[in-house]
């Protein structure tokens, strides 16, 4: 029966080609607009580290106080003094401190011109905490952190650029005039959004080239290339005074595996702040936060408002297209009231009529889905026109999106057909036959 209905459905697409074309276009445009904006939204709102996002936390300490903080919220990063205190306290199973750096790379050939590279100064736990996997070598150890080793981990793309993709572990590389020993080459690892750095940037910029030791970077006075935010009067002069200032720029992350650990760490942060209050460094009561990855992305409002608004508008657009489709299906089905009357008189049950028209709607939905898929494919190449390049580069058409496009079109059309098909099934055979 289903095959027969499908045949009838496909055949009826050719009847009233105008109405059919209208419906197919409405569904096609509606689903394409929704899918294009959804592909961007999906890319910016996803969980960047799904296997661990519930165990990674961003400790926040209010070091500015109620009169200078951001509407009662602590600043989104730590100053040097607090960051180092947390690191030394060893209260979490793992902890890292992060800041962004920019370095020049000078190849060893004569006449070589320098090129820019970006990276992060991090501590040893960074790699294990964030599940960074390695193509060659590995990260460095906490002992190396203490020894202030001149080690560097480079990314696969940077390894490709500098060493043609060969195993470069053990090789030397010169960054801004200082020699570093390569200890590891990561596999491709580009969490999006780059959750650990969303305080400093939008979270969708190009991935870094390398990671090196925070301690050594500080020793070399390697300045922060990311965001830096200060309050009150700026009185520091030079690097050492800067480190003691209230400027926040270091991004801490801790790994806490159980709810009990989370509670304990939260208490630790409160106790630390209370100590600072007692010591006279803070003139206010403890004000700390400990969001996990997804909460932190939410707090930082990482999803661009453009992406949300366009998704909402596109979905509303799809709803209107469906309302339109309900009307057109009603017209299309009711035009055949006579035919329905005959079929009913010949013994078709209401149920069968209902099923037949739903299948017919599914055929319209399928056609709309195919058109929508074509439009989505075309539209994906135009995403660069609509969104910033950093965000647009993340949106792509994959199998799941193709499946979703077709499914959304078919399901939405069938749902839209419930009422028109019900009306068709209500046709009174006697009345129709009489009026003919």
């Amino acid at each position: 029966m289903f095959a027969y209905y499908s045949q009838l459905g496909l055949r009826s697409l050719r009847r009233n080609p105008m109405l059919t074309a209208l419906m197919v276009m409405a569904i096609g445009f509606g689903v394409a607009a929704s899918m294009i904006t959804y592909s961007v939204f999906r890319a910016v709102s996803g969980d960047p580290i799904p296997e661990k996002s519930a165990q990674l936390f961003m400790p926040e300490i209010d070091s500015w106080g109620p009169q200078q903080n951001e509407h009662g919220e602590p600043p989104g990063a730590l100053n040097y003094v607090d960051a180092m205190a947390l690191l030394r306290a060893h209260q979490a199973s793992r902890m890292t401190l992060i800041y962004q750096v920019m370095q020049t790379v000078l190849p060893h050939e004569a006449n070589a011109v320098p090129s820019a590279s970006t990276g992060y100064a991090v501590t040893a736990d960074f790699f294990t905490m964030f599940n960074v996997t390695f193509q060659y070598g590995s990260g460095w150890s906490t002992a190396d952190d203490d020894a202030r080793a001149a080690d560097v981990v480079i990314t696969d793309a940077f390894n490709q650029r500098m060493f043609g993709g060969a195993n470069s572990v053990g090789q030397k590389i010169t960054l801004s005039g200082h020699d570093y020993r390569i200890v590891g080459v990561t596999r491709h690892w580009d969490p999006s959004p780059r959750f650990y750095d969303v305080w400093s940037e939008a979270g969708f910029d190009n991935p870094p080239d390398f990671y090196f030791l925070l301690n050594r970077a500080l020793d070399l006075h390697t300045d922060n290339a990311g965001r830096n935010s200060c309050r009150g009067r700026i009185t520091y002069n030079g690097w050492d005074q800067y480190l003691q200032s209230n400027c926040v720029w270091l991004m801490p992350w801790v790994e806490l595996d159980t709810a009990a650990e989370v509670t304990r760490y939260h208490q630790f942060l409160e106790a630390y702040s209370a100590d600072q209050q007692r010591a006279g460094r803070f003139a206010w009561a403890p004000n700390v936060r400990l969001p996990d990855v997804m909460k932190w992305l939410d707090v930082r409002e990482v999803v661009p408002p453009e992406s949300r608004i366009s998704l909402v508008v596109a979905l509303s657009f799809f709803v209107i297209c469906l309302v339109n489709t309900i009307g057109l299906l009603l017209a299309k089905f009711m035009r055949r009231a006579g035919e329905i009357g005959v079929r009913r008189a010949l013994g078709a049950t209401r149920h069968e009529i209902y099923a037949q028209y739903l299948v017919e709607a599914a055929a319209v939905g399928l056609a709309g889905g195919v058109l929508g898929l074509l439009l989505t494919t075309a539209g994906m190449s135009g995403v660069g026109l609509l969104f910033e390049p950093e965000v647009a580069r993340l949106a792509h058409l994959d199998l799941s999106l193709i499946g979703m496009t077709l499914m959304a079109a078919i399901f939405a059309t069938v749902a839209a057909a419930f009422y028109p098909a019900w009306r068709a099934a209500q046709v009174q055979p006697a009345w129709q036959l009489k009026s003919n």
């Binding site: 105008m18 508008v313 209107i320």
Partner: protein, 410 residues
Amino acid sequence: MQIQPILAALRRHKAGTILIALQIALTLAIVCNALFIINQRLSHLSEQSGVDEPNLFVIRNMWGEQYSTQQAVQHIEEDVAALRQVPGVQDVSAVNNYPFGPSTWDNFITMKPDQLSPTTDASFYTGDENFVRTLGLKLIAGRDFRADEIQDKGLRDSIVPAVAIISKAMADKLYPNGDALGKTFYAMTSSPITIVGIVDVLHRQDVSSWSASYLGESMITPIRIAMPWGLTYVVRAKPGQLEEAMHAAPKALFAENRMRMIDPKDGLLSFAEVRHRAFEKDRGMAILMGIICVVLLAITGAGIVGLTSFWVGQRRRQIGVRRALGATHRDILHYFMTENLLISLGGVAIGVLLTFGLNLWLVTRFTLNLLPVTYVLAGIVILLLLGQGAVLAPALRASRVPPIEATRPA
């Protein structure tokens, strides 16, 4: 034209009537809000920078090695001298950033040194004695910087400038009476900064929404950025020679010292490109909303055509009867036009509520502004016209139904 019989007829087509009205209502809600978003975004695109855009370009220069403050100062001086030699170059200034630039420097501004909540927030430019002239800013009061006022700022140096040139927008915020010149303010500094000059317009470095309430508030300090990593040169070309100057300038820099990096992607930009990049999001949003509006109106129009055509087909016999009883072509035409007008009016009545509902949601969720009533009025007119336009073809077809139809079976 009698409305009563039309209403009576509509009661027999409840579903179709409701669907058209609903579609018009939803379309009104989306189109009004989308048009408003487009307008807000486009208004960003026309924000004034205050600089001589057609003749400016920027070079974001990074040093190939880490320089000490003294080395950096020396290299900047050599670079500026080299750039001045480039044919087509009129002026050069070494700066930290430029309007619509890639990053943002801003300081809280207070009137007293110990004031806790800031009076305002100003975009913080550092520039030498050539800054105002090179950028083509219009000095409306006071004077430009003197060469002996310029200080060099190295890594994490806190240099407190004694003087500053500020934008009119900032002057008006600090001293609403218009007597800012010669007065002082604090920019997170422990000593006061004296306002020695006021420029008409100088846009902030950022175009983000958080700084919307500080629009156009900028200050220029007599500081030369001698950081270890690099700085930006703003270059003003002689009129009509932008392209030649842009082509020759990086070559001249590399010829003078090759230990530098100018990013191939965004290291060398004409100001037109700077503006283009800064407003990419806004332009994209406007384009997307525009496309959605156009397609939406087309689909709604097409839907009305489709459903009305169906009604006309259904009622051929009744139309024939009316024609046979003396109704003119015009009467039939008016019947369908009026019918559509009634449905549309019902639709826009619901639509106005939906429009403001959607707007309120956008306001609370995305800090969009409240929708002005003019947008809703314009939307209503657009949709009523669309409905009338869409119904015209089926209505004309209906009016041509011959009276003989009355005698044919349905």
